[in-house]
C-alpha cells in the first residue's frame, strides 16, 4: 500500500508492453457507440426537433 505510480513506472517496465497491446475490442465497441450516437442525433435533431410545431424563427 501507499506506493506511488511515479516511483515504479520506469521506462523499461512499460515501454515494451505498450507496443504489444492493440485494444481492438475497444476500438470495435467505441465504433459501435459512435454509430449509435450519430444515428440518434440525426433522429432527435432532424426528425423530432425540426418536425415539431411552432419553430422559433425570430
Amino acid at each position: 500500500m501507499g506506493r506511488n505510480e511515479a516511483a515504479h513506472a520506469s521506462a523499461s517496465d512499460v515501454s515494451g508492453d505498450t507496443e504489444e497491446f492493440d485494444p481492438i475490442g475497444t476500438l470495435t465497441l467505441i465504433g459501435i457507440y459512435f454509430v449509435i450516437l450519430v444515428l440518434s442525433w440525426v433522429y432527435i435533431y432532424y426528425i423530432e426537433f425540426l418536425g415539431r410545431d411552432l419553430i422559433v424563427v425570430g
Binding site: 500500500m1 501507499g2 511515479a6 512499460v14
Partner: protein
C-alpha cells in the same frame, strides 16, 4: 516490486489518522445519500400521481430542495473530499501536513451543510419560522432564510481549506522529491481542486455579496439575471467536480480490479488538464433561453461546450482499453469475447462498468442539451433530470457506491458484509435508473416540465408518443422505487459491514500504467501554467456577458421585488399579489396558503 513487503498493510494500517478522516467523510456522504433517497422516492411517487398522501404539493418543493442539495452538493462533495484525502496520501505515500487542519475543514463543511439542511427541512413544519424552498439553484428573487445561504458559504469555505490541505501536502512532498513527476492520483486531485477554486469563487461571490445581505435585509433587491449567471458560472463546472472523482476511480482503480492496469498515464493527465481549462467558460449553455443575453455569447458557450466532449470521449477509450487489457491478461480472447473474462461477480467492478455504460447514454442526452437551438425542445422539461440522473445520479453515484465496496476495507480493515448483496444492489440501481431515466427523457419530449408537484394540467393533454404520459409515469415510479430499494441495500450492507471484526490481509496495491508518466511531457505537470490559461479563458468567456448583464439590469436589479418563501405572512402577501383577473388560480393559491398555515 515491493508488493510482498507492502502488500499486507492497508491504508488504515499505514495512515490511521488519515483513514479516520476518510471514514468520517464517507459516512457524511452516505448520510446525505440516505436522506436524499428518502426525498427521492417521496417525490417520485408524488409527481407521478402514484401516492400523494405523504406530503402536500406545496411541501413537494421542500422535498425537492432537500433532494437536490443533499445529493448534488452534500453526498457528492463529502465523498469527493474523502476520496481525495485517500488518493493524495496514498499516492504521495506521506501523511497530511497537519491533521488538525484537516479536521477543521471537515468540521466547517459538516457545520455548513447542517445549517443549510436545517433551514430546508424546517420548511416541513410550522413550528419554526424558517424555510428555504428555493431548490438547489436558489434563483432570486425567490428568497430563502439567511441560514440557507450562510450554511452554503461555510460549506464552500471548508472545501477551499480542504483544497489547500492537498496543495500543501503536495508541496511538502515536492520538497522531498524535487525531480519526481506528480503521481497521477495527486495530479487528478490538484487539477480538480484548481478548477473548483475558479468555479466556486462565482457562487461564493453571489452568496456573500448579493444573496446573504439581501436575505438579511441589508440590500433591497438583486439582479436576477446576474445572480443566475453567477450560479451557472459555478453550476456547469460543478458537474465536472462531481465527475472527476469518478474518473479518478475509473482511471486508477477500475483497471486494477479488472486485472490489468491503466492504458495511458499521459492521456489521463491531458484529460484532467482539458477539464481544468474548459469546464468553466461554458456555463451560459444553461441560459440558452434566457432573455437579456446576446445570441453570440450563447453560441460561443456552445462551441466551448462541444469541445468539452473531447476529454470524456477520450476517457471512454482509455478506460475501456485498460479493462480490455485486464481481460486479456486474464486469458480473454477474440474481438469481443474477452468481455466474458472480466470479474463480473465483483460488485465494485460491475458497478463501475454499469455506471460507465449509463454515462455513455447520458453522453447522448448531454449532446442534445448542449445543442443551442434544440434546447427549445427540452429546456426545463423532465428530459433534463432524465439526463443528469444518468450522469451525476449514476455515472457518479453508482461509481461511488461500487468503489466503496473496494475502498471501505482499505480504510477500515473490515471486509464487506456481503458481496452478493452488493452485486444485486448495483444491478438493481442500473435497472431502476434505466427505467426512470428513459421514461423521463420520453416525457420531456412530450413537454412535461421538471420541478413540478403535479405535472398533469386541467386545461390540456400531452401529445401521445412513446406510450404516453400516464404509462411513462408508471415507468418512472417503478424505476424510482427500485432506486430506493438499491440505496437501502447499499446502506444496510455498509452498516452490517461496520459490525464486522477487523481482519488483516485486505491490502490491495494499485499497479502503474502501461504507458507511464515518463511518457508524458513535463509541461503537463506545470499546474501554474494551466491555471493561468484557465483564468484567461474564463475572462474571455464571461467578461463581456457579465458587463452586459450589469449594464442592462444594474448590479442590484431593475426594481425587482423580494419573494421570501420562508415565512407564512410572506406567502399571504404573495397570494394577494396575484391579480383578481386570475381568480381561480388565486383561489387555489390562497387555499394553499391556508394549508400551509
Amino acid at each position: 516490486m515491493s508488493e510482498a513487503i507492502e502488500g499486507d498493510r492497508t491504508f488504515a494500517d499505514e495512515f490511521p489518522a488519515e483513514a479516520r478522516v476518510v471514514r468520517a467523510a464517507l459516512l457524511g456522504s452516505f448520510l446525505a445519500l440516505t436522506l436524499g433517497a428518502v426525498f427521492g422516492i417521496i417525490q417520485t411517487l408524488h409527481r407521478t400521481g402514484v401516492f400523494r398522501g405523504l406530503i402536500s404539493s406545496t411541501d413537494y418543493y421542500t422535498s425537492l430542495t432537500a433532494h437536490g442539495v443533499f445529493l448534488a452538493l452534500s453526498f457528492t462533495t463529502f465523498f469527493l473530499v474523502g476520496l481525495f484525502t485517500w488518493a493524495v496520501v496514498r499516492s504521495l505515500d506521506r501523511p497530511l501536513i497537519d491533521i488538525r487542519i484537516t479536521w477543521t475543514w471537515y468540521g466547517l463543511m459538516a457545520a455548513g451543510m447542517t445549517m443549510t439542511g436545517i433551514s430546508i427541512l424546517a420548511g416541513f413544519t410550522d413550528a419554526l419560522d424558517m424555510s428555504a424552498d428555493v431548490l438547489f439553484t436558489f434563483y432570486a428573487p425567490l428568497q430563502a432564510h439567511p441560514m440557507f445561504y450562510a450554511g452554503l458559504a461555510v460549506f464552500i469555505v471548508g472545501s477551499w481549506i480542504a483544497g489547500a490541505d492537498y496543495f500543501r501536502t503536495w508541496l511538502a512532498w515536492k520538497r522531498e522529491h524535487p525531480d519526481d513527476r506528480i503521481p497521477l492520483q495527486t495530479f487528478m486531485v490538484l487539477t480538480t481542486m484548481a478548477m473548483w477554486y475558479i468555479a466556486s469563487s462565482a457562487v461564493a461571490a453571489s452568496v456573500l455579496v448579493f444573496l446573504l445581505p439581501w436575505s438579511l435585509g441589508l440590500i433591497d433587491q438583486v439582479n436576477p439575471t446576474l445572480t443566475r449567471t453567477l450560479f451557472w458560472f459555478f453550476g456547469h463546472p460543478v458537474v465536472y467536480f462531481w465527475l472527476m472523482p469518478a474518473y479518478l476511480l475509473w482511471y486508477t482503480v477500475l483497471p486494477k480490479i479488472a486485472g490489468g492496469r491503466l492504458f495511458s498515464d499521459p492521456l489521463a493527465r491531458v484529460v484532467f488538464v482539458l477539464f481544468l481549462l474548459l469546464s468553466t467558460p461554458v456555463g451560459i449553455h444553461h441560459q440558452y433561453l434566457d432573455p437579456g443575453i446576446a445570441e453570440g455569447f450563447k453560441f460561443i458557450s456552445m462551441t466551448n461546450t462541444m469541445f468539452l466532449l473531447l476529454p470524456s470521449l477520450l476517457t471512454a477509450f482509455t478506460v475501456v482499453a485498460s479493462v480490455e487489457y485486464g481481460a486479456r491478461q486474464r486469458g480473454g480472447t477474440g474481438l469481443l469475447g474477452w468481455l466474458t473474462d472480466l470479474p463480473w461477480r465483483d460488485p465494485a467492478f460491475t458497478g463501475m462498468m454499469l455506471a460507465g455504460l449509463m454515462f455513455a447514454a447520458g453522453g447522448f442526452s448531454g449532446m442534445v442539451n448542449a445543442g443551442m437551438n434544440i434546447n427549445y425542445m427540452i429546456h426545463n422539461t423532465i428530459w433534463v433530470p432524465g439526463h443528469f440522473h444518468l450522469t451525476v445520479g449514476t455515472a457518479v453515484a453508482l461509481t461511488f457506491m461500487a468503489a466503496t465496496y473496494w475502498l471501505w476495507p482499505q480504510i477500515t480493515n473490515k471486509p464487506i458484509y456481503s458481496r452478493s448483496i452488493g452485486l444485486v444492489q448495483v444491478v438493481v440501481w442500473f435497472v431502476g435508473m434505466a427505467l426512470m431515466s428513459n421514461a423521463m427523457h420520453a416525457q420531456g419530449i412530450l413537454g412535461v416540465p421538471r420541478r413540478t408537484a403535479e405535472p398533469e394540467y386541467s386545461g390540456f393533454d400531452y401529445p401521445v408518443m412513446f406510450g404516453g404520459f400516464e404509462e411513462l409515469n408508471v415507468q418512472i415510479a417503478i424505476g424510482g422505487t427500485l432506486l430506493f430499494v438499491s440505496t437501502v441495500l447499499f446502506v444496510g450492507n455498509l452498516v452490517l459491514t461496520m459490525g464486522n471484526p477487523k481482519v488483516s490481509g485486505l491490502a490491495e496495491e494499485l499497479p502503474p500504467a502501461l504507458s507511464g508518466p515518463d511518457d508524458a511531457p513535463r509541461v503537463l505537470d506545470n499546474l501554474g501554467l494551466w491555471v493561468g490559461i484557465a483564468l484567461v479563458l474564463v475572462v474571455l468567456a464571461y467578461a463581456l456577458p457579465l458587463a452586459a448583464i450589469i449594464n442592462r439590469g444594474g448590479l442590484l436589479g431593475p426594481g425587482v421585488g423580494t419573494y421570501p418563501v420562508w415565512f407564512a405572512p410572506a406567502l399571504d402577501a404573495l397570494a394577494n399579489a396575484a391579480t383578481p383577473s386570475l381568480g381561480a388560480i388565486t383561489d387555489a393559491a390562497a387555499s394553499l396558503v391556508e394549508v400551509i398555515r
